[in-house]
């Protein structure tokens, strides 16, 4: 990825070690940068498909056996039919060509394990992941930004040290460990959050309009259903939110510390502005700019990195779908899911880069 967090210089200069040269492109540089990205996107995706295709074909396992089972694969007619159906009886290059041809026509293939079109299955799973990603992002911002700001404002205090330790733990802890812990404590022991799944079994899902169940429930005039979905969303969103929130906290603290050393802050202090106003209005605004870049990266990671959390908490999104598919050597499903995540990752970051340029015109998209 070309994305990187760009730390802008404080408006009126900050500590020398925090300064980074601004990338001032020529007029229209951002436009060219975006065009360049859009042009390279197909090649990136092509590379991704090739890599996934080769990995899937060189595994030391036979998809026909994975699908048909130990007994079913004794039936040679079934093995032949399976290989013919998925083109596995053709040369490797031809298999890839057929895959690409279908892909270009919008056909993501048929799931080996469920016999359903992969596009339909991903269309059903993607909104759940999107819903989770948005909720987790909100949690991470709500946790990370205040912690980072307060830690910077009380630099070297006990609170700052504690925050540093806790956030270090947060960024170091593998998501699956935190997910298992949260499931054990918050759901199994304390019963504070709803269990696995997206909706209470006794509630009927709302009619699908957007696929985002909270939104669809509200559109259908079913607030109880919307609340239940939110209830189920808490566990995976908190797990993912804490992990990314810890990261946000560390970055915000670091940026805020730089900002609070800046001349503009000293000037504000000299004018007698209250400390709260200096931190909340002047320094915080400065810290928000690199945070925006991080939001994009995080949002993309939430798509890609939610596999373990979705699997453990039973959230029926793309991550869980891909995990299920991978355990059954369902190559069409895994490849399509990877592609979807890749596209989402790239597009989200492209959008954030655009917003970044809008938020701070001095900084051109790199």
């Amino acid at each position: 990825m070309t994305d990187q967090v760009v730390t802008p210089a404080p408006p009126d200069g900050a500590a020398a070690e925090t300064r980074r040269p601004l990338r001032r492109g020529r007029r229209g540089g951002r436009g060219r940068s975006i065009t360049r990205r859009l042009v390279t996107l197909p090649f990136l995706l092509l590379g991704m498909t090739l890599l996934m295709f080769l990995i899937s074909r060189f595994l030391p396992a036979d998809p026909a056996v994975a699908f048909l089972g130990n007994n079913g694969a004794d039936n040679q007619q079934a093995v032949d039919a399976f290989n013919a159906k998925y083109g596995l009886d053709r040369p490797l290059w031809e298999q890839y060509w057929i895959y690409l041809d279908r892909l270009l026509h919008g056909d993501l293939g048929t799931s080996i394990s469920t016999s359903r079109p992969v596009a339909d299955e991903l269309a059903a799973a993607f909104p759940a992941t999107l819903e989770l990603a948005v909720a987790a992002l909100l949690v991470s911002l709500l946790v990370g930004i205040p912690l980072g700001v307060l830690a910077a404002a009380r630099r070297s205090s006990l609170f700052d040290r504690l925050t540093g330790g806790v956030t270090l733990l947060g960024v170091s802890m593998p998501p699956f460990v935190l997910a298992l812990l949260a499931l054990q404590v918050l759901y199994l022991r304390l019963g504070w959050v709803a269990g696995p799944g997206r909706l209470d079994p006794f509630l009927d899902p709302p009619p699908t309009v957007t696929g985002l169940m909270t939104v669809d429930a509200l559109l259908a005039g079913q607030p109880a259903v919307a609340l239940d979905v939110l209830h189920h969303l808490v566990l995976p969103a908190v797990v993912l939110g804490i992990i990314h929130g810890a990261f946000f906290a560390r970055v915000v603290r670091s940026t805020m510390v730089d900002a609070l050393r800046g001349d503009f802050v000293r000037t504000a202090r000299g004018k007698g502005l209250p400390g709260r106003l200096i931190v909340g209005r002047h320094a915080f605004r400065f810290a928000l700019i690199p945070t925006l870049s991080l939001v994009g990266l995080t949002f993309g990671e939430l798509f890609a990195g939610a596999i373990t959390v979705e699997t453990i908490t039973g959230w029926p999104g793309v991550g869980r779908y891909m995990y299920n598919a991978a355990t059954k050597l369902d190559f069409p499903a895994v490849m399509a899911g990877t592609l979807l995540i890749g596209v989402a990752y790239v597009l989200v970051n492209l959008v954030v880069d655009l917003l970044y340029g809008v938020a701070d015109p001095r900084v051109e998209a790199s």
Partner: protein
């Protein structure tokens, strides 16, 4: 900071939602809850629900609920086949022709009468779809419907036990009219042209007490009562298979009344529940078994293929220790478990004798032992795992000088190697299609499993010819007592120096809400769970 306010509002909503769960236990909602059965399971690998395609596990439960078969078992009495769609049947003396007379009362959920043509069409589709369970129909030569109430199934070769295959839910009878209207076909090229599996996962076309209402892949399956059910009315109005991925979460959800049944769980998880008054433990003996195989092909392993060595391995194993590897493990005493007709009893079980094993190895010219390799799966779906048993076998054989290297691989990779007959020894998890002693046919010379171990009519070894002859007689034996005895003798004989060692199985045990009744009669190893037989007090 003003921009943060909306975020805070959403977060507040998110958090307060935690305390605003749906209250579904009052009034009408409470009644609906009592008439709804929620089955908490890991839906990871489940579906599709087309009975002629799905072959993963829970499809048996769904098949039984939404469809009927020609015959059935009554609970766990595997010795007796009882009527289902067929009210009576005959088996011709040639042991190849089965004639069924359909119950005229049998009706599909659409209200149509079940006809012989529906049966013929369904069995032909099962075979031609070339899906995971199609192998079950492989031995069938033809299915005909001479009149609307008569079905004649002819096999390619004699097998009286094949009657029991028709209990299997993959031989479910579909409403041909409804299924074909939604893309199903029984044509010879059905593997390419049939497009109904997707539809049959979210709907059903059967005559069972329930019909599928909706399916959200990997998340939730909903079945509702069949309004045109021809058998006694089921208690529950709605059945929900809800994805609850982990055993711990299933148990927690059960205790809170969020679900009524868990999926099969290890005994170590279930035992602590025995004192809980609101929970009961139910199940039946498991047919999913652990099995040790040894090659008979000298070119694969010249040491292992010797008679004295295979006899020594039988004697070297610590069977008692294997049975104690995990709570609930049921030791098999041979290739046929003790809980089905013809099962090998504890008295006939092989006994560990390390000294005798060493003597046999010395007689084979291997007093210093030898090196070999054992393939197995690293799957952890069962407790103990195959790897646990492989390590136990490795330790036992080390005591007599056989140095075993374990080659553990992901299940599909393991099966690929095993099926290619590349394993010297194998420790596999298997599951007979139906609980009849004839399930050992694939393990006898020329059987699909035996060929992987190099045991064939061309390489029968010291015992293959005798077993083959006995099996041939058993497959055509109409005298049930004699038939069962023949299979029993084969299994008992293999305990001495056969290439297979039946080790153990894991019981099919699960937890349920104590108010759920009828579990004893509702569980067996073919349908797993007959939901229609359950009720709530």
């Amino acid at each position: 900071m003003r921009r943060v306010i909306p975020l805070l509002a959403i977060a507040t909503l998110l958090v307060t939602a935690g305390g605003c769960g749906n209250d579904s236990t009052s009034g009408d909602a409470g009644d609906a809850r009592s008439k709804t059965l929620v089955y908490g399971v890991n839906l990871k690998s489940q579906g599709p629900w087309d009975p002629h395609v799905g072959a993963v596990g829970l499809d048996r439960v769904v098949n039984r609920a939404a469809y009927d078969t020609l015959v059935a078992y009554a609970g766990t009495d595997y010795a007796k086949v009882v009527p289902d769609l067929a009210k009576e049947w005959t088996v011709a003396p040639d042991a190849k022709t089965f004639t069924f007379t359909l119950d005229p009362a049998a009706k599909f959920a659409t209200g149509r009468t079940v006809t012989a043509e529906d049966v013929r069409w369904s069995f032909t589709r099962l075979k031609n779809l070339a899906g995971p369970p199609s192998y079950l129909a492989g031995p069938i030569e033809s299915v005909t419907a001479p009149d609307p109430a008569t079905v004649v199934v002819t096999l390619k070769s004699p097998d009286v036990s094949f009657l029991r295959q028709f209990v299997d839910g993959h031989f479910s009878v579909l409403d041909k009219e409804t299924a074909t209207a939604n893309g199903a076909t029984d044509a010879a090229d059905a593997a390419k042209t049939d497009t109904a599996t997707n539809w049959l996962s979210a709907n059903s076309a059967g005559s069972g007490p329930y019909k599928i209402e909706s399916w959200s892949a990997g998340s939730r399956l909903v079945m509702v009562k069949n309004p045109n059910a021809w058998r006694p009315t089921a208690f529950f109005e709605k059945i929900i298979l809800q994805d609850v991925p982990t055993p711990d979460a299933q148990l927690a959800a059960l205790k809170r009344g969020e679900i009524d049944l868990t999926q099969p769980l290890g005994k170590s998880l279930l035992e602590p529940l025995s004192s809980e008054s609101k929970v009961q433990i139910a199940g039946s003996p498991g047919l999913t078994w652990f099995l040790l195989g040894m090659t008979r092909a000298p070119k694969t392993d010249p040491n292992l293929a010797k008679q004295q060595v295979q006899e020594a391995i039988h004697l070297a194993l610590d069977y008692k220790g294997i049975g104690e590897l995990a709570a609930g493990v049921q030791q098999w005493y041979g290739m046929i478990p003790p809980f089905i007709p013809g099962g090998v009893t504890e008295q006939e079980a092989p006994k560990q004798d390390v000294e005798k094993a060493k003597e046999l190895l010395a007689a084979a010219g291997l007093s210093g032992g030898f090196d070999t390799e054992l393939c197995t799966t690293t799957s952890t779906d069962h407790q103990p795992s195959a790897l646990d048993l492989a390590q136990k076998v490795q330790a036992d054989l080390k005591n007599v000088g056989i140095r075993v290297k374990i080659d553990g691989q992901e299940n599909s990779a393991f099966l690929t190697k095993y099926r290619a007959a590349e394993c010297k020894m194998v420790l596999t998890i298997d599951g007979p299609a139906f609980p009849d002693p004839s399930h050992i046919v694939p393990y006898l010379p020329d059987g699909a499993r035996a060929l992987r171990m190099g045991w064939s009519s061309e390489n029968p070894g010291w015992d293959g010819a005798g077993y083959s002859a006995a099996a041939k007689e058993a497959l055509t034996q109409s005298d049930e007592t004699r038939r069962v005895q023949l299979w029993h003798d084969i299994a008992a004989g293999m305990n001495t120096d056969g290439p297979w060692v039946g080790l153990a199985s894991v019981p099919y045990s699960f937890a349920a809400d104590a108010r759920i009744k009828g579990l004893d009669q509702a569980t067996n190893q073919v349908t797993l769970l007959d939901i229609a037989a359950l009720r709530r007090d």
